[in-house]
């Protein structure tokens, strides 16, 4: 259960950004979560709701954008279905993961600045 430490890092970072901009409230957060980021989206939401008590994010809406894992051949662009052998036989190339497949990103913060 590492979702709590991730959320803690997230909120700490958001508060730091808010302080530096003298924000009085955080209205929304947008997070990218790739399928291979090793994070359970529901646990992440639960951890966020638990952890935000008493922080600047107490009433913040968390938007999580999910990205499915996608493997492609770097040479011919062929995509692989889930459960396929991750090697393109015609090209003799190992498959590559697309950038968002394992994303774990804080994308944006909506802040109220007086």
């Amino acid at each position: 259960m590492h979702e709590y430490s991730l959320v803690e890092a997230l909120i700490r970072r958001v508060e730091e950004e808010a302080r530096s901009r003298r924000a009085v409230a955080i209205h929304g957060l947008k997070v990218s979560l790739g399928e291979l980021a090793g994070v359970d989206p529901e646990l992440f939401q639960t951890a966020f709701e638990t952890f935000r008590q008493g922080t600047l994010c107490e009433r913040t809406a968390l938007e999580v954008v999910h990205y499915p894992a996608r493997w492609v051949c770097p040479r011919c662009g062929k995509t692989f279905a889930r459960g396929d052998i991750l090697r393109c036989e015609p090209c003799g190339a190992p498959a590559q993961l697309t950038p968002q497949s394992d994303a774990l990103l804080l994308d944006a913060i909506d802040m109220e600045i007086p």
């Binding site: 590492h2 991750l86 697309t98 990103l105 109220e112």
Partner: protein, 300 residues
């Protein structure tokens, strides 16, 4: 204050960051990595389920790696049993008691180095918490990820825990001496690995019989060579003041900006991926400050 029309409503400002949530961890990991490299130490993150044979593998390594200076930190929620076992096997070791944390992070590793003679080592094993989930996403500053998977766990584990295996530079199939007693299909395990890893490197080992230990030794030596060769090219060792107190309350997730590393010289975080040799993987835009191009030691 809305200054557009003077209505007095507060202004909502969208701040775009596109920053890794683990950027704080990754910065500390990069720092650890730089230290390991400048000292010519091969640091390995050893992961696997509880009971997969991580500690026994390291004990057996001490028997076959005569002349190689080994050391370890061993993470456990509650005990220092593993560190004691390793010390008895001739591997100077230190326990990292993580309390409730199910994984090591770069800060815990960093702190463990302070009173441990890691610079005198050739190979530094970081034995992670027994867990096939959480440890995979935390970069510690290692040169490579090694995942131990015992034959008693079943052939389907790679499919169930794809994140862990996808990040592995080497999979050690442990306890292979037990195969005759089990309904375990080694070829099927290796086929499963090919469905979660594009270019799997797999070795079959038994700590008990010594099977496969020479191949493991050869792999270690091959991974050590560039680290040792790079040592002469690395920046000179530097000292820095750690402003963080060293009380070991392992509360985890410390992206503490309180560590003041004053470096008198610019470093190149040539920032490794644990993926040497593999073709360069993707980089996320928005990478993580100061380590451009590290975009991804990825936790991948």
């Amino acid at each position: 204050m809305c200054t557009t029309c003077g209505c007095g409503d507060p202004e909502l400002v969208p701040v775009e960051l596109h920053e890794k949530i683990l950027a704080g961890n990754d910065r500390i990991a990069a720092h650890n990595r730089e230290h390991f490299r400048e000292a010519g130490v091969l640091a390995l993150n050893i992961m696997g389920s509880p009971g997969s044979g991580k500690t026994a593998l390291l004990e057996a390594s001490a028997r076959v790696l005569g002349g190689v200076r080994l050391g370890a930190v061993s993470a456990d929620l509650a005990t220092d049993n593993d560190a004691q076992r390793l010390s008895r096997a001739g591997i100077p070791s230190k326990a990292i008691t993580t309390g409730q944390a199910c994984h090591l992070d770069a800060e815990l590793v960093h702190r463990s180095l302070h009173d441990f003679p890691w610079r005198e080592l050739d190979v530094f094993f970081i034995e992670n918490v027994g867990n096939l989930v959480c440890p995979a996403i935390y970069d510690l500053g290692q040169e490579a990820n090694v995942v131990a998977l015992s034959v008693t766990e079943g052939e389907d584990k790679p499919l169930k825990y794809p994140v862990m295996f996808q990040k592995a530079d080497l999979v050690l199939v442990t306890k292979v001496d037990l195969v005759p007693h089990l309904d375990f299909d080694l070829p099927r395990l290796e086929d499963n690995l090919r469905r979660v890893m594009p270019d799997p490197k797999v070795l079959r080992v038994s700590a008990r019989t010594g099977e496969g230990m020479q191949a493991w030794k050869a792999w270690l030596e091959a991974r050590r060579a560039p680290v040792v060769a790079g040592r002469s090219k690395e920046a000179r060792p530097h000292e820095h003041a750690h402003a963080h107190p060293h009380e070991h309350t392992h509360e985890h997730a410390h992206a503490h900006g309180a560590t003041t590393h004053s470096h008198p010289h610019a470093h190149q975080h040539a920032h490794a991926h644990e993926h040497h040799g593999a073709e360069e993987r993707h980089q996320h835009g928005g990478g993580d400050h100061g380590h451009e191009g590290s975009g991804h030691d990825h936790e991948h």
